[in-house]
Amino acid sequence: MSIALRLVRSSIRGATLAVGLLLASPIVAPALGAQAPTVSPAQPVRLAIPDAKTRQAVEREIARAVGRGLPPAPLVAKAMEGVTKQAAPDRIRSAVASQAQRLEQARGLLAPTPSEAELVSGAEALAAGIPGAMLKQVRAAWPAQSVVMPLDVLTELVARGVPPKQALERVVTLMRRGATAGQIAGLGAAVQADVAAGLAPDAALEVRARGVMSLLPSPAAAAALAPSGRRP
C-alpha cells in the first residue's frame, strides 16, 4: 500500500514540476506576457502628480472606486486631465472623487447593466447639469441598445444652450421612432454647427430634428422595427 501511495505522490509531484517547466518554456511564456504588449501603443502610466501625498490620495480614491465596481479608466483619465491642465493637486483629487460619484450615480440610473462607455457618457451628462431622471428616460427608450450616442447628443445640446427638457423630448422621440445612433449623432453635429453659425439653439434643434424625423418610417412601422437585440 505504502509503495503505491509513494508512487502516486511521486507522480503528482513530477507532473506539477512538468507543468511548471512547460509554463516557463519559450512557447508558453510569451502567451502569459502577451496581453499588455499586444494592446500597445499606449503603456500604463503612473500618475505624474509631483506631490507624493496627493498622488497617493488620488490613487487611493481610484482604488476605492474600483473596489465599488467602477471602471478605473475614466478616473485615471480625469486625473491625467488635471495633470495635463496643471491643476492644483487638491483639485485633481477632488475632480477624481466627483467623477467617481457621477459614475456611480450613472450606473444606478442606466441599470441594469450599463457598459463602461455608457457610464462615462452618463457621468458627462450629469456633469453638464442634466437631471438623473432624464438618464432613466433615455435608458427606457432604448433598453437593449447602447445609449452612448443619445446621451452624448443630449449633453451636447444642453451644452449649446438647448433647454434640457426640450432636448430630451426630441432625442427620445427620435429614439422611439427608430432613428439610428448615426442619425442622432448627425442631429447633434448639425445643431452644434448651426449654433456656431449664430442660430438660436432651440430653433436649430427644431429644424434639425424635423429633418431627421422626415427620414424615419411612420410610428407604426417604427414600432414594428423596434430594435430587440442586445446592445454592444
Binding site: 500500500m1 509503495i3 503505491a4 511521486s10 513530477g14 507532473a15 514540476l17 512538468a18 517547466l21 512547460l22 518554456s25 512557447i27 508558453v28 510569451p30 502567451a31 502569459l32 502577451a34 496581453q35 499588455a36 499586444t38 494592446v39 500597445s40 501603443p41 499606449a42 503603456q43 500604463p44 502610466v45 503612473r46 478605473p72 479608466a73 485615471v76 483619465a77 491625467m80 486631465e81 488635471g82 495633470v83 495635463t84 491642465k85 491643476a87 483639485r91 475632480a95 467623477q99 457618457s121 458627462e124 452612448v148 450616442m149 452624448d152 447628443v153 449633453t155 451636447e156 451644452a159 439610428t180 445612433a181 448615426g182 449623432a185 448627425g186 447633434g188 453635429a189 452644434q192 449654433v195
Partner: protein, 196 residues
C-alpha cells in the same frame, strides 16, 4: 524509462490484487517483494531523474500538456483568438490607461483630423478624453505653412479635447465649440464624431 517503471507498478498491482483478501498474509508480502525484485533494474537515466525528482508523466499526459502549451503559444502570436487581448485596458501593477485594442478592427472608429495654427510653436500635442489626456499620445505635425495637424481614429460620440502647445500652454481649438470644464476650469473644445 517510463516503461520500466510501468513494469514495476504492474507487477506490484497484480500481486496486490491477488492478495487483497488476506492483506497481512506473509506469503502475500513475499509475493509482492519477489515480484518487485524480479522487475528490471532502473537505468542510469531513470536513476538520474529520480535523484533530481524530475517528473513522471505518461505519454498521454505529456501530449495533453504539450497541446495546451502550443495553443497558448499560438494565442500569444495571434493565430488563435484571445478574448483577453481584446480587452480595452492594459492592467499592470500600476493603474491602467485606455488603449486601442489590438484586435479592434476599428470598424466603428472614425478618422478625425485636427488642425491648429501656431507658426511660432515648437511642439503641439492633441490631448483629450480619447487618449486619457496623455501629452505624448498624439503629437501634431508641422506643415511648412505653420499649421499643425494630426488625424486620429475616434469612436462616434462627443469628445472633449485641447491642444498642448510647447508642452505647457493649453489652448482650446478656435475652430470648434467650447466645452465647459467644471472640474478644472481650463479651456477645452468639443467635437461630435458621427457614427457610420
Amino acid at each position: 524509462m517510463t516503461d520500466e517503471r510501468d513494469v514495476v507498478i504492474e507487477a506490484v498491482r497484480g500481486t496486490l490484487r491477488a492478495s487483497v483478501a488476506d492483506e497481512a498474509d506473509p506469503r502475500a508480502v513475499a509475493r509482492i517483494l519477489s515480484a518487485a525484485w524480479a522487475a528490471p533494474a532502473p537505468s542510469r537515466w531513470r536513476r538520474w531523474l529520480d535523484a533530481w525528482h524530475l517528473p513522471v508523466v505518461s505519454r498521454v499526459g505529456a501530449a495533453v500538456v504539450a497541446v495546451i502549451a502550443l495553443a497558448a503559444g499560438f494565442v500569444a502570436r495571434g493565430v488563435l483568438p484571445n478574448r483577453a487581448v481584446a480587452e480595452p485596458m492594459a492592467v499592470t501593477g500600476e493603474f491602467p490607461v485606455p488603449v486601442v485594442p489590438a484586435s479592434d478592427p476599428r470598424s466603428s472608429a472614425v478618422s478625425t483630423q485636427f488642425v491648429f495654427e501656431a507658426p511660432a510653436a515648437q511642439s503641439v500635442a492633441l490631448v483629450g478624453d480619447f487618449n486619457a489626456w496623455v501629452p505624448t499620445a498624439a503629437p501634431l505635425v508641422r506643415l511648412p505653412s505653420g499649421v499643425w495637424t494630426v488625424t486620429v481614429p475616434l469612436m462616434p460620440g462627443r469628445h472633449v479635447y485641447a491642444f498642448l502647445v510647447d508642452g505647457a500652454r493649453l489652448e482650446a481649438d478656435p475652430r470648434a465649440s467650447a466645452a465647459a470644464d467644471a472640474d478644472y476650469g481650463r479651456p477645452s473644445s468639443v467635437v461630435m464624431v458621427p457614427g457610420r
